[in-house]
Subunit: 499 residues, 2 copies
Amino acid sequence: MSKQQLYLHYKEHLQKIADVKYASAVLQWDQETYMPANGAGFRARQTATLSEITHELFTQEKFKNILQELRHADGLTTAQQKNVSLTWYDYTQQEKLSAPFVRQLSEAISKSFQSWIAARKDNRFAVFETDLARVVDLKKQEADLLGYEEHPYNALLNQYERGCATILLDKIFSELQEPLKDLLNKIRNRPQVEDAFLYQRFPKQVQWDFGIKVLQDLGFDMTSGRQDISEHPFTTNFSSKDVRITTRIDENDFSNMTWSCIHECGHALYEQGLPESEYGLPLGEYTSLSIHESQSRLWENNVGRSMDCWTYLYPILVNYFPEQFKRTSVESFYRGINKVTPSLIRTEADELTYHFHVLIRYQLEKELIGDDLSVKDIPAYWNEQYEKLLGVKVPDDKRGCLQDVHWSHGSFGYFATYSLGSFYAAQFFNAAKTNRPDLSLEIRNGRFQPLLGWLRKNIHVHGRRYTSEELCKMITNEPLTIKYFLEYVLDKYKLIYEF
Amino acid sequence: MSKQQLYLHYKEHLQKIADVKYASAVLQWDQETYMPANGAGFRARQTATLSEITHELFTQEKFKNILQELRHADGLTTAQQKNVSLTWYDYTQQEKLSAPFVRQLSEAISKSFQSWIAARKDNRFAVFETDLARVVDLKKQEADLLGYEEHPYNALLNQYERGCATILLDKIFSELQEPLKDLLNKIRNRPQVEDAFLYQRFPKQVQWDFGIKVLQDLGFDMTSGRQDISEHPFTTNFSSKDVRITTRIDENDFSNMTWSCIHECGHALYEQGLPESEYGLPLGEYTSLSIHESQSRLWENNVGRSMDCWTYLYPILVNYFPEQFKRTSVESFYRGINKVTPSLIRTEADELTYHFHVLIRYQLEKELIGDDLSVKDIPAYWNEQYEKLLGVKVPDDKRGCLQDVHWSHGSFGYFATYSLGSFYAAQFFNAAKTNRPDLSLEIRNGRFQPLLGWLRKNIHVHGRRYTSEELCKMITNEPLTIKYFLEYVLDKYKLIYEF
């Protein structure tokens, strides 16, 4: 068999696996948007079966042989070689987890998601505890199976961000803490900005319509995606031609829907920009979670909370809600949507205090996986840390340790990538501005296409070809640094809080 | 290994297959309700892959060996034996179709569904022709692979209704034709009833709300199912705990949504009543398509177009649409909703002329599969038959041969079961009335639970344990006969048309 024939076998097999994975993603999307409550039991076993099949297909001896032969092959293009070597890496990782283990984990996750929903309804962590403990237990086993250096949590971090480790994150968070605290103190010493206009009554349907308008303006392709409502907003995709985002709407809080909608849109624009021709192959996949998050953060914050953006969008918004905004100038609106204040809910946090929310979760997970904290003590730990780092008292579990969907999904090691995403976003946005001196002007005129084009060309089109670090160096000529993020927030809040 | 251990292996394997089948059903449900247009391409390959996996799992040598050992086993309960023998039958059928053939068919069907949508949009059969021709070609191959006696179409009929054949259907339709024509003539000679009140303006949302109210009254469990909107109404399920129905709403035609909603509800009540403990096994599946259809028809017509039902429902309806119905008495309403008049659209046809719609499709399919008609000649054949049998001129393809989704799904041999369903429905409803003398009164008081309970006990709970014929004899003490249907329509229309 020629190398190209062999590559074709490899490609077909991997795309078949992608079909099953994406099918499973459809089931999960349905579970979180439309599935009736009683559907949960059988749905759990259905997604578990699909996970098992994916795992079986991926770990087939036959496939391993193809991979091994291709790894040392001449006659492949550079792109083909890259696909093969990334798949080989994935293979060696996956090989460490047995099919029964994968099924157990998937079933435990489906159950814990349901009890997370129930626990939120009841506003009692205890309802979630047993099923979560089972998931944590399996995640520890997973870390052991995957192997790690220094800390078991590194094995989990590495699943979301290849090469990521506690030593790196400890360093970044420690570099960040002082300047962030300084900035927060400066802000605290200034009069608070006004944002009461965000908490009027905003009818559901009008919010929804405004959200759709924003999605379309930013460049979300509605013929290759859609938005729905779910408990916790998320983005998923079943190909680059079918990208689903969800949002939630609070009729008494305009910000709840709006920036989550822009955030998910950022994720979705990335997915819609991945190369269709590489469907199911590594080069058709996103680089890493932090790069994915850099795209959502860039649109949510660097664009979506900028004066440039609202110079264009605000008159449109006023048309949707003339009564609500008639006494608010665009300048006041801009200051209000950038209000900095320690708060309880991560997804509603401002751009500064946000990173304390992440830090708490990061440290909590590290202790949980390292056996320094037990699941039943999560609420106490959580509440203590929120008081210590953010100075807020957590009134109940729903606004405390039950607020995020991640743990119920078994996603430990995920949160840190949110902060990394913000730092990459600032660094990329700075590069985009350097490359396109007219960027501000374009955004002020509602022309988001040039920025999207820049992201498509420099980031999206590459898929998983480069690591986060390589991509960052290629685009910005230096490795990740929190310098640009700190510059960005300092410049911004200096003007807003006038210090 | 003990027989019970072996049975457990059989059960686990079959339930795993069910998981994949139901996953595929979720993808198909999504495709017809929410999927963005550009998602179609990759969705086609995703469902094709799931079909292929289902087929691979089902035709595994290992599974065949288990089945063969279990077939001749002592130590199984009667129910277990029944499951095994039905699976063995399915196995021998499936074995005749190769995995590549199943994939080809599934891909062709996904494509043809999309071009059916496009053709309806364009109102041109030509847009659908090539993809349909491919499906027909594959269905002929399928008939050859499955094997048949007398006519290749019998192989396809048998897939939906075991034992069904052209010789039986030719007989039933010929017995039906004369009495039906007689009845139609009697009706034609009487003044037509008034139904203009159905074609006023009925706002979408109010129709939707009324539909949901009806679903709940009839006993549809909203925690184990839901309703959505699609191009063509259908019922699907992913377990007996997650049953999805769809409807469509025409703001200028109240009947369009209402009886399709009741019809799909009948299907859904059946699915919700199948034994949960037999998930994925034959005894957890419906008896046959004609029995499935008997449930939808019974609720749609025998109940949903009866004076008893509307004695209860009409005052409720008037609350939803006070303006629209203020000048219409319940008697006039009852007569109007039972108006008999030859028409173009099968799903909107009255209970009498409906069977001519089926007859035309039945004969068309028989000729298509028997190579006596080619795909390109479908519109001409269709239009000619509608003129001949129903006396109506078909103005365009959308109201002609593009009206049904079935062919785009590759469902040839399906339509006949609709008529069989009506005949079973009349026979079952007659038995229910005999068994429960208070049934009319209960329905007049909006108490549908006793009827549902009767159906659950006599039909739903059995799953696929009996054949249609066995079930019919068990419940009604005689085999299927069109006698009850003819009695039912004669009694009904005599009063309505006063002849």
